[in-house]
Subunit: 324 residues, 2 copies
Amino acid sequence: MRSTDELKCLFDEAIAGHRRSLGRLLTVVERGGQAAAAVNDMAHAVGGNGHVIGITGAPGSGKSTVTGQMLRLLVAAGAKPAVLAVDPSSPLTGGAILGDRLRMDDGPDSFIRSMATRGQSGGLAVAVPAAVRLFDACGYNPIIIETVGVGQVEVDITGAADTCLVVVAPGWGDAVQANKAGLLEVADVFVVNKSDTPGAKDVRRDLEFMLDLGHVSGHEVRRGSRPNIVNTIGISGVGIDEVLAEAAKHLERLASDGQLADRRKRRIAIEIRSHLQQQLAETVDALIEGPVGGAHIDQVANGSMRPSEAVQALYSGLDDGGCL
Amino acid sequence: MRSTDELKCLFDEAIAGHRRSLGRLLTVVERGGQAAAAVNDMAHAVGGNGHVIGITGAPGSGKSTVTGQMLRLLVAAGAKPAVLAVDPSSPLTGGAILGDRLRMDDGPDSFIRSMATRGQSGGLAVAVPAAVRLFDACGYNPIIIETVGVGQVEVDITGAADTCLVVVAPGWGDAVQANKAGLLEVADVFVVNKSDTPGAKDVRRDLEFMLDLGHVSGHEVRRGSRPNIVNTIGISGVGIDEVLAEAAKHLERLASDGQLADRRKRRIAIEIRSHLQQQLAETVDALIEGPVGGAHIDQVANGSMRPSEAVQALYSGLDDGGCL
C-alpha cells in the first residue's frame, strides 16, 4: 500500500493534469480499502461540478458505440470528457468490450477507464463513486458512466447519475424487456439506437405506449418528468448531437428546479450505504467462518437447531462480540 | 400474511403430495419475511436427502434445453425431479425464458418453478435454499437449480449445489469467457452443448487445455477433482443420459469420500450468511434514511465532513443506537 504522502503527491499531479498519476489513483480506488478511502476524501475536498451521465441498456443495444460517438463529439466541441466503463459481473459479454474500448478516442482531452471486479459487486458500488469524484476533481466534464450488464448493480450505479440515458434497440433488449429489468424507471432520456433497422419503429412505439400508460413503474415519482426519446444510428453517429443536447437540457432543468442538489445527496447516500454494507459483509463473513458460526452451522446440519434460530442467535451476537 | 397454523396445514398437504399447496408455499418462500422463515424451519425439520444439481452457463448456451431434456429422462426413469429456474436480475434475456419453460414437461411426476425477484438479489439468496429444502421435504429428487444469468449471485447459488453442471457452447459464452466469469471454478461436470455445430470442438479443446494448465483458478482447491466433460446436442437429446450418469457418479464420489457433508454444511453457511446480510441491509437502510443518516449526508454534500468520516461515524453508531 502506498503511504498517504505518496497518495497526496499522486493526487496533486493528477489535479495538475498528469494522466499516469490519475491512472494510478484509479487503480488505488479500484482496489478499495483505506488507501481508496483516503483518495476519495482528497477528491471530495477539491470538489468539482461535472455533469455525471449514466448510460445503460441491454447487451447488443450499441451502448458502447453511442458512448464512443458522444466522446468524439464532446472532444470536438472542446470539452474534456471522461468515460468509466463498469462491468460488475464480468459477464460473458466480455469478449466484445475490449474491442469497443479500443475503438474509442482516448486522446489528451479525454480519459477512458474500465472497471471490473469479479465477484465483488460491493467493491464496485464503493469504487465507482470514488472514481467519479476523482475525475470531477481533475476537471473532467462530463463524466460518463457506462455499465455493461443489466443487473441491479448497474441500475443502481446508473440511477445515481445526474442524467441517465437508457439505450434500447430492436431485438434482444427491446422496450418491454428493458422495462422488466427496471431500466426504464431510471431513464431521463431514451436512446432508440439502430434506428435504421427493422423493428426500431416498433421499439419506439412500445416505449411511448408504455410511457403513455404510466406503465413505467415509479418513473413519475422517481424521475419527475417524462423522458424524451432520441433516435440514433450509433455506427454512423446520426442523432448523437441530439443525445448530448437532451442530456444538457436535462441538467439545466435539474439545476433550475432544485433537483440537482437532491440527486447529488442521493448519490452520497447510496455511496455511504455501499461502504457500510461492505464493512458489515466482512464482519458477517468473519463470524460465519469463525468458531461460533461453525458451531451453529453444525447444529443446523445435524438437525438440532432450526435455521431461523441460528440466524437470530448469530445476528444478536454481532454486537455482543464486539464485532462492530 | 398467513398464520402459522395455515402454513402448517399447507405444509402437511404439500408433504402429502398436493401440488397447489406446494406452489403456495413456494410463493410464501419467495416473498420472504417471517412466514418464509417458518416454512423453511418446517421443511428443515422434515429433512430429505435429495441430490441438488446446479446448472448454469452463458445465455444462449442452451441450459434450459439441456435442463428440459434431463427432466424428461428423469421422469421416464421413474424419478420425481424438481426444477427451480432462478433469474436474479430479470435481465434482458427474459423473453426467451418463458418459452423454454413452456417446452418443459411439467407432469404429475415433476415440479417446475421459476423464481425472479427484481432488484432483490439478497432476497433470492435467501429464498432459493428455502425452496430447495421444501422440494426436498416433499420428496423431489433430484432438485435442479437452473440459473439464467451469469453474475455473482448465480455463481453463488449454483456453487452451493451438491453437483454443479456448467454448460458451454460455441459463440458468446465460450470457455475462455466462462472462465473469466468465474463459472469454470464451480463446475463438477462440463457440458459442451450444441456439439454438432462448428466451433464445438474448439470449445472442448479450450476447456481441456485450461484444465491441463490448471488455469481454472481455484478449481482444484475448491472442487477437489478434475471435472469430466460431456458433449451434448440439447435439442435432440444426444448426450443427456451421459450428463445424468456423470451427475450421479459425482454424487456417489462425494458421498464415499465424505465431501457431501462438507458441501451441505457450506450450503447452510451460505444460507445463514445471506439471511444475516439481508437483515443488516434493512438496518443500514433505516439508518441512512433516518435523521442521523440524513444529517451526515448533508454534511458530506456541503463539504463539512469527509465521506470516510461519515461512514465511520454511522458504522460505529449501528450498535449504539440499538439498531442491532
